[in-house]
Amino acid sequence: MVNKKVYIIPCSGIGKVFGSIGREAAYIVVNELAKGKSDLECLPLIVKGKKEVIAKLKSNKVIVIDGCPAKCSYNDVSEAVGKVDGQFMSTDIVKENRDMKPEHEIIPMGENAKKLSRKLAEKVTQKIDELLENEEGGEQ
């Protein structure tokens, strides 16, 4: 059996720091916290309708990370792939850590924004483990 992966799709927002927090969190997840268990996928490609990408997402678990209430990643992935297995909002992390306001600079990101990204990454990783566990459970 090929090991299933969880695909992470950050919203790729660029106008505000929240998109960057989501992206940074996704990087931390796939390169560090859930290395080997997860991978990134590119939202613009999905919306464009790239077949290989969509097929891959359909047969794997998908987590979206959005940076604003427009929920682009969630909406676009739901529409293109037909499902989303987990969803996160980087603004929720900001709300939960009100004493840690993110800086507005995006390049490079500020200290608080980085800390928030890590917190978000930890949550996403937890979800990944949950999803993979259920998956194994289902196949036994």
Binding site: G13, L43, P44, V47, C68, I106, I107
Partner: protein, 141 residues
């Protein structure tokens, strides 16, 4: 009311390749540092999501309909150009990041997550190119 001409910038924002990271970094350098007063950044995902009533996509699309807009592509998929073309009409210009990367083999970004010193330099070069286009378009209009 402000009627100063402005140029829209929309970057591919992709996540899979370093081209996406560079496109994003370069776009931000332009709107934050080089031409803050003359450019408006458009959010590519929001642009594509569209239709969310008074929040989001429609405003980005409307802007690109009435203002010259430059798309910045990280790879051959040309997502930004295609999106603008589909929803707002032909973009005023398109910048291909890959071409600029190829023209500067000495500057290799460390990774897509962390551009590193050379990568940032490369982003600055791309930003310069975008700025040239911005100025050109402003003159024309």
């Amino acid at each position: 009311m402000s009627t100063k001409p402005k140029i829209g910038i929309i970057a591919c924002s992709g996540e899979n390749l370093v081209g996406g990271t560079l496109s994003r970094a370069a776009a931000r350098i332009v709107v934050e540092k080089l031409r803050p007063d003359k450019t408006v950044i458009l959010c590519q995902p929001l642009f594509m999501a569209g239709g969310l009533e008074r929040h989001g996509g429609t405003e980005e699309r409307d802007f690109a309909k009435t203002h010259p807009t430059i798309t910045i592509e990280g790879c051959k998929e040309e997502c930004a150009r295609i999106a603008v073309d589909r929803y707002s009409g032909k973009p005023a210009a398109t910048i291909y990041v890959e071409d600029i990367i190829n023209a500067h083999p000495e500057l290799k970004p460390k990774s897509k997550e962390d551009l590193g010193k050379d990568g940032v330099k490369l982003a600055e070069i791309i930003a310069e190119k975008i700025t040239e286009k911005v100025d050109e378009l402003l003159e024309r209009n």
